[in-house]
């Protein structure tokens, strides 16, 4: 063991506290080597160990009849979808790398989550991307930077996803000043597999050979996991490691090779090298297998000859896997690697002593009990500052904005405007299975081999979360479930990405805790298991934290292709209903933001009993073939929702109009048209069936309103309390569809 002097400075540089260092000493019974210190530092970073968030994450409901692999057990959870088929999905963040280098940061984010999925034995089927940027309007340096970030991130996702051939079929984007300098890039991937194909990331079978396959190791993203667990500062931008560059072509080969390998039956365990690369994959496989692993760094394929052991261990080069092969079956495995022209090497063996042992030739540079390293990371219960509820909005001091022009302002707000500029850069059709492409409430994907239809959506309104983290998190789950219901689907599983600021700040930690509680409450109410997720803390820059952003992605199943529903009105004469109440909550609304520049008040309250009733009611109607279109009501309220339903599905479809009457509401017009109360759905039904639908709804006791009809003329008219507001839907559509491209043209 080479001796090294581990100074307090060195310990601090590795982001370890004196207490954590004491724990290392007691695990090892001696002073660590520099390499060992590096290994502990990445394994015990928040990114790998969840040391600040794990106690909170335990609150998630993770079980269910259909759960085949639970959250936290493996790289991603697995859910049964029937007939021997299963889906495996997860969401991951790549926020900090994208802040530094948007194109490569986003690209490698896509690569990373795809690897997580095929490591499980699943064939990646589709992606969603949930993005947050600072404001992009105007000529300020900040706005230019944010536009560059948006363009770069979009191009990076497009580059990686399109090349590897996994369609990006949905996502969301919001813009808010709180993300200035710290954009969020969360990518979701879903894969499909047969039950018997579930692969494990465990080093099973003492004596089994351990193979390294994929790209050669370089100095990329050295200690990136530790980097992700720190705040971004100007200095951290300066002393950053070599930026990771994604190679979607290599990953495509790796993906095909791994699926072929797993099908061959020669594999005892498999693990991708993600954050903390070789270090994390060796110690996690050993820990899961209850075994040890011994590898020799001299055998690792390298891009630069002069890499030190420390660098090899901590490198985050992309597109690499660790494969544990059944002894004696090396030959067919090598043949597969060679067919796909991938660099590979036999770098070690599974042992029985529970150690993660790393040699450089004859010298042992790391020798750490694997289980202690992987599972005994320190856990912290951080201090949470009690939250003070914001003052409720005082309508009397709030002037009523001009309704007519405000709808246009809302439709032009980049968070509400069409994201077509973004998603047409994604190949959302490759794999020939996208039934509902981006643009509707949820994307629908045809699982051809299984003859099943999946729907997926991602949601989070961070304004709500910043005003009331728990209620905001509940709203995210409610919206996702409602989006799925509007598409004809029942929710089957949820994965979350918890994006927050520094957990050492009590208010940030409170937000994390409250968000977990809110998501849990929603999952229990809807009976959706949490199948896994990702935590990204330290999202701060310049002066403040980001708005808390607990993004959820929810997957649903549609029981019959006839029940696939989209948000666009289909035919003039169809009758339009509102399922739910008219609502009256303006707190945290985009109306307030757009007309007053304010993020204030209490966000909409969530009543899960009501949410469930509404969703079930809609699904019952869809299954009875009574629904032509359904669209959930969210940012911008009723007026925006109805406008969007008038917009067309494709460029040659006609633009329709709608004639709506809200009747006597007793509300101010701005409240009636733009409030964002939850649990509301706008749907349309053929005229001949409208009375029947009305009868069903009356009998059900669910709140509803028969609002009006879809019109041939491209005009939207909304009457409320005797006053009629009118717009040309061509104007509305033009405003909505050109807002983002116009902003992005400025350069």
């Amino acid at each position: 063991m080479p001796s090294s002097t581990i100074t307090p400075d060195l310990i601090a540089e590795h982001g370890l506290t004196p207490d954590e260092y004491q724990k290392i000493l007691s695990i090892l019974g001696r002073e660590p080597s520099l390499e060992e210190l590096g290994v502990f530092s990445v394994m015990w970073s928040e990114h790998c160990s969840y040391k600040n968030s794990r106690p909170e994450l335990r609150k998630f409901p993770t079980t269910g009849e259909k759960v085949l692999v639970k959250a936290g057990e493996e790289n991603a959870g697995v859910i049964d979808v029937g007939d021997g088929w299963a889906v495996c999905f997860k969401i991951e963040s790549h926020n900090h790398p994208s802040a530094i280098e948007p194109f490569q940061g986003a690209a490698t984010g896509v690569g990373g989550i795809i690897r997580d999925i095929f490591t499980m034995g699943a064939r990646p089927a589709f992606l969603l991307d949930s993005l947050r940027f600072g404001t992009i309007e105007g000529d300020s340096v900040q706005a230019r930077t944010n536009r560059r970030l948006l363009a770069g991130v979009t191009a990076g996702i497009s580059h990686y996803g399109n090349c590897i051939g996994v369609p990006t079929i949905g996502g969301e984007i919001y813009f808010d000043a709180s993300y200035n300098g710290n954009p969020l890039v969360n990518v979701f991937c879903l894969g499909t597999l047969r039950h018997e194909q579930i692969a494990r990331g465990a080093a099973k079978g003492v004596g089994n050979p351990v193979f390294y396959v994929g790209a050669e190791t370089g100095r990329d993203g050295l200690a990136g996991a530790a980097f992700a667990s720190r705040e971004l500062t100007e200095e951290s931008k300066a002393d950053r490691p070599a930026v990771q560059v994604g190679d979607p072509f290599r990953e495509k080969l790796l993906l095909e090779a791994c699926l072929e390998l797993l099908a061959s039956g020669c594999v005892a365990g498999i693990q991708d090298m993600g954050a903390a690369g070789l270090t994390c994959s060796t110690c996690e496989t050993a820990s899961r297998g209850g075994t040890g692993v011994e590898i020799d760094l001299d055998l690792v394929p390298k891009r630069a000859a002069d890499l030190t052991p420390y660098e090899i261990l901590l490198s985050e080069s992309q597109e690499r896997m660790l494969v544990i092969v059944n002894e004696g079956q090396e030959a067919p495995v090598k043949k597969i690697f060679e067919k796909w022209e991938l660099p590979y090497a036999l770098i070690g063996r599974v042992t029985d002593d529970g150690m993660m042992r790393v040699r450089k030739g004859k010298d042992v540079v790391v020798e750490i009990p694997a289980r202690a390293l992987a599972d005994d990371a320190p856990l912290y219960s951080r201090e949470a500052a009690p939250w003070t509820a914001p003052a409720p909005l005082d309508l009397t001091s709030l002037p009523c904005a001009d309704v007519q022009s405000t709808l246009l302002l809302l439709l032009a707000h980049p968070s509400i405007a069409s994201k077509h500029w973004v998603w047409r850069q994604y190949d959302y059709m490759v794999q020939n299975s996208t039934v509902v492409p981006p643009g509707s409430d949820a994307a629908v994907f045809y699982l051809r081999e299984a003859d099943k239809f999946l729907a997926a959506t991602s949601d989070c309104n961070a304004i709500y979360c910043s005003l009331d983290p728990k209620e905001g998190a509940k709203a995210a789950v409610a919206e996702a479930a409602r989006n799925l219901a509007c598409s004809g689907a029942t929710s089957i599983g949820l994965t979350d990405n918890l994006n927050f600021g520094n957990p050492h700040k009590p208010e940030s930690f409170y937000q994390l805790r409250a968000a977990v509680e809110g998501i849990s409450e929603g999952c229990l109410a809807f009976d959706i298991p949490v199948t896994g997720g990702n935590v990204s803390l330290y999202n701060e820059s310049q002066h403040s934290s980001i708005d808390p952003t607990p993004t959820v992605a929810v997957v649903g199943l549609i029981d019959d292709r006839a029940h696939i529903t989209t948000s666009y009105f289909k035919e003039a004469g169809d009758v339009i209903f509102l399922l739910g109440n008219l609502g009256d909550e303006l707190g945290g609304s985009h109306y307030l933001l757009v007309s007053q520049g304010r993020k204030e008040g209490l966000p909409p309250r969530i009543d899960f009993e009501h949410e469930k009733k509404i969703n079930n009611q809609l699904l019952t109607l869809i299954r009875a073939d009574l629904v032509r279109s359904a669209h959930d009501c969210s940012e911008g309220g009723l007026a925006v929702t109805i406008s969007e339903s008038c917009f067309k599905k494709s460029k040659d479809a006609p633009l329709l109009g709608a004639s709506i009457s809200l009747g006597k509401t007793g509300l101010r017009p701005d409240v009636a048209l733009f409030n964002e109360s939850s649990g509301r759905i706008i749907f349309s039904t053929p005229a001949a069936k409208a009375d029947h639908v009305e009868k069903i709804l009356s009998d059900s006791g669910n709140p509803f309103h028969r609002l009006g009809v879809v019109t041939e003329a491209p005009e939207l008219s909304i009457e409320a309390d005797g006053v009629k507001y009118e717009w040309n839907t061509r104007t509305l559509h033009h405003t909505w569809s050109t807002a983002l491209p116009h902003m992005m043209q400025v350069g």
Partner: protein, 233 residues
């Protein structure tokens, strides 16, 4: 009809082609790995879309050196049908089977959407089920689909009726707005002078199923099938 769908490292529409082809009765379709040196026994060879070799260097530049390309040459010489879709079109141009080349979209961004094509020629094995001037709606998904050739080549293409598809608006007009990538003369697909090799940027295999929004791609595959049956009579 026996169809070989070539699989280069980085192809990603290979399976989509298989699925589309298998929806036709009397078609058998198989993947053929790029390291193979023979395509004996196949009537049709398809070079599918994707990113062969990551599209590194230039789209299609590396794939054209794959061993299977010798077999493509042989099949072409025997008058068999060769269809290059998207990346396959790029490979055929790089390999010199078709004139000209495909460069970066004029507006520089990748574009995925559905476009309208005007069928310019129907006296070919690939378009005989279409009427001249017929409009087809097909998806595109590419970043480098701007067809470019020198003037002499363009003239020859016209003279020999080798331009099979052009981008147009829903009235059949060849407008700039309807051209998604800035290709010369709104060209979307061409064939060789012998009319047995075709390349096009749009994806017919993505438009063979009503569930996915359109079936106009079936005209192209059905044309090939009919041609095959007729040529055997």
């Amino acid at each position: 009809m026996r169809v070989a769908v070539l699989q280069f490292p980085g192809s990603n529409c290979d399976n989509d082609c298989l699925v589309a082809l298998r929806s036709f009765p009397d078609v058998t379709a198989e993947l053929v790995w790029h390291q193979e040196t023979s395509a004996e026994g196949f009537d049709v060879i398809i070079l599918p879309g994707g990113f062969s070799y990551g599209d590194y260097l230039r789209c299609g530049a590396i794939a054209r050196f794959s061993p299977i390309m010798k077999a493509v040459q042989q099949a072409a010489d025997q008058g068999k049908l060769i269809l290059g879709i998207c990346n396959g079109f790029q490979i055929l141009c790089e390999a010199g089977f078709l004139p000209g080349t495909l460069i970066r979209n004029r507006k520089l961004l990748f574009r995925c959407e559905s476009v309208i094509l005007r069928v310019e020629e129907n006296a070919t094995p690939f378009t005989n089920k279409c009427t001249p001037g017929q409009l087809l709606r097909l998806p595109i998904a590419h970043g480098e689909g701007c067809y470019t050739a020198d003037e002499k080549t363009l003239k020859e293409l016209e003279e020999h009726h080798q331009i099979l598809f052009r981008y147009c608006d829903d009235q059949g007009e060849l407008t700039t707005a309807a051209n998604p990538n800035g290709s010369m003369e709104n060209i979307a697909g061409i064939c060789n002078r012998q009319r047995n090799i075709i390349g096009l940027m749009p994806h017919p295999e993505r438009a063979c199923e009503a569930l996915l929004g359109g079936i106009d791609g079936r005209f192209i595959f059905q044309s090939m099938l009919d041609w095959k049956v007729k040529s055997e009579e």
